[in-house]
């Protein structure tokens, strides 16, 4: 049984025009309501001990999915369950997270730590609040955790500004681990670090994973890092998962045209190839997504069917792909 199941999840963000704007709309016959379709009908699952990578361009909804799984947002449709229990409930617009077993690590360690709170207190306040640690053991546990992430226990009395980016990200990891999570969500957790520091933090993560048997969702736009860290990878495009499979097969044998294009766009060393091939065109606006398959305006294989019909994720070999090419072709008659 899988630890986390995401089934049919959509997330829409709507602006809420004020009374005066609504009145102006009524008078002029316009409509200033805008809806961003951040996620559309996403289903996936994460098994115990597995690391799932979420990859995609900026604005494809991977961070939104991470925040939904972390209980920061509630889904507009569908549900997200950890051990069969929903991770968050929404009541009249305010979201209440109902589990402590999912913890998130943010992208920017300079923003994710309270600048005026000592790091020891930052680490200990969650477990103290939820009764995981007693007052007497909090200090020792904090020191142990700091040492576990490769810092000195004595650093607990310091403020975040006294640390470098890599050290801060270690503190953020320690804060997440303090809650004894079943699932970690790492939202671009190394993207803002120097490459050399990235490697250190990634090695720390791999080491912790081995020791603690962590389950994680690893959000990144760095295909190389994802291949290195993840067991399974989901490729996202404009709010949908377009391809999913084990890291090995997906990198070796990409099926969806978007995945192929994404992999082809990575500059490579040592192959003698001088140029890389960026995907043509811009990512469409989620305010007004294209009809049919969202990738069709940029896809070299697009046919009439792609304009009209959305292809759901379905099995192809050991992978899953959402492309008409693999299911009857892209011409009108095939439908």
């Amino acid at each position: 049984m899988s630890l986390l199941t995401v089934s049919g999840v959509s997330k829409r963000f709507e602006n809420a025009p004020g009374p005066i704007t609504r009145l102006a709309d009524r008078l002029t016959g316009q409509d200033s309501r805008r809806t961003v379709h951040a996620l559309s009908d996403v289903s996936l699952s994460v098994a115990q001990g597995e690391v799932l990578g979420l990859v995609g361009e900026s604005g494809c909804g991977k961070s939104t999915l991470g925040r939904l799984v972390s209980g920061i947002y509630a889904p507009s449709d569908g549900d997200i369950r950890l051990h069969g229990q929903p991770v968050a409930t929404e009541h009249r617009g305010s979201v209440t997270k109902t589990t402590t077993r999912v913890q998130m690590i943010h992208q920017d360690p300079f923003a994710s730590l309270d600048p005026r709170m000592r790091v020891g207190e930052t680490i200990a306040e969650g477990p103290r609040q939820h009764g995981l640690w007693s007052a007497s053991e909090a200090a020792q546990n904090t020191r142990d955790l700091l040492e576990q992430v490769g810092l000195e226990g004595a650093y607990a009395d310091r403020l975040p500004h006294q640390f470098s980016g890599g050290q801060r990200q270690r503190i953020a990891i320690a804060r997440a681990l303090a809650m004894q999570p079943d699932l970690l969500v790492l939202d671009e957790a190394v993207a803002s670090l120097d490459v050399s520091i990235q490697a250190q933090v990634l090695n720390l993560f791999m080491d912790l994973r081995k020791r603690l048997g962590l389950t994680a969702i690893f959000i990144s736009h760095d295909l190389g890092v994802v291949r290195h860290v993840c067991d399974r990878v989901a490729i996202m495009y404009l709010g949908r998962v377009v391809e999913m499979g084990s890291a090995e097969t997906l990198y070796a044998n990409p099926q969806h045209p978007y995945t192929r294009a994404l992999l082809a766009s990575v500059p490579t060393l040592g192959t003698g190839r001088a140029a890389f091939h960026p995907i043509k065109g811009e990512i469409p606006s989620p305010l007004n997504p294209p009809s049919g398959c969202a990738f069709h305006p940029r896809c070299p294989h697009a046919g009439p069917r792609c304009h009209a019909e959305v292809r759901m994720l379905s099995d192809i070999g050991t992978q899953q792909s959402a492309c008409h090419l693999h299911h009857g072709g892209t011409s009108e008659e095939a439908a």
């Binding site: 209980g71 920061i72 994710s112 309270d114 600048p115 005026r116 306040e125 000195e152 640390f163 809650m179």
Partner: protein, 319 residues
Amino acid sequence: MMPDVSIDHDTLSPDGATSTTASGAPVQTRAARLRAFWSDFCRAPVAVVSLIVIILLAVVSFGAPWVSPQDPYDMASLDWMDAFLKPGSVGAGGYTHWLGTDNVGRDMLSAIFYGLRTSFVIGLSAGVLALALGICVGLSAAYFGGRLESLLMRIIDLQLSMPAILLALVLVAMMGQGVGQIILALVVAQYAYFARTTHGAATVERGKDYIEAARSTPLPARRVVFRHLLPNVLPPLIVVATVQVASAIALEATLSFLGVGLPLTEPSLGSLISNGFKYIHTDRTWLSIYPGVFLMITVVAINLVGDQVRHVLDPRNQR
């Protein structure tokens, strides 16, 4: 520990104040930061002098029963024969009235010391209470957002569109005279400034990741607001608070001058000026001028200190 993570340790020794992190930021203890703040503050001699003046005024006003030559509250110690003595003349009590006496023979210097005490008490308590109320309103508006935010901030806007003195006048006229009433009126007239400053700073902070991290732990709203949001919006508020204390003292003096503040039996600087104003057309100008000078010195000194604190706390001016 893994060998490939040890690079951070060499650059960060646990002992403290002088070492630097890998990013080069100075490592400081709280005491070292206070020392740095103090040395930055001392760069403006005007502010240092102002601070000394404030401390002196606070000492003489709160120590008024011990330093002033006469108890202006004690009608029995007043002598009608001493009325309207010029500054520097010796009265029936056998001591010099350095700033003269008023119409009932009250020593002006003593009255000013006691009046200053009233002004300080009213200014400080009104400032602190308005700060507390403003923080509550501003923080709840910023944290909870939505309709509550619109409602609260429109009320604040409405209130800021009216002069504070007008609002305070109406309130005092409704509630009657007395220290408690004046403080309440000043709090109502001034909390809006704090609420707006708090709201502005908190709106910036609430979008930051550390608030999201605290919410997604999850921590209860009360803890997120008071342990994470509040400490991060406090620095600009401290500056507003110093200015508002000065402004509360001036407001109280204005109310008393207009005759709706404190009675002369409980002198504040404003009521002393007001009392002297009755005799301004005679040559007894000292009755109004000296309390006025003390009021001016107090307000200007507090403002100068507040200015320098703001200057030092501004990250752009930090070394």
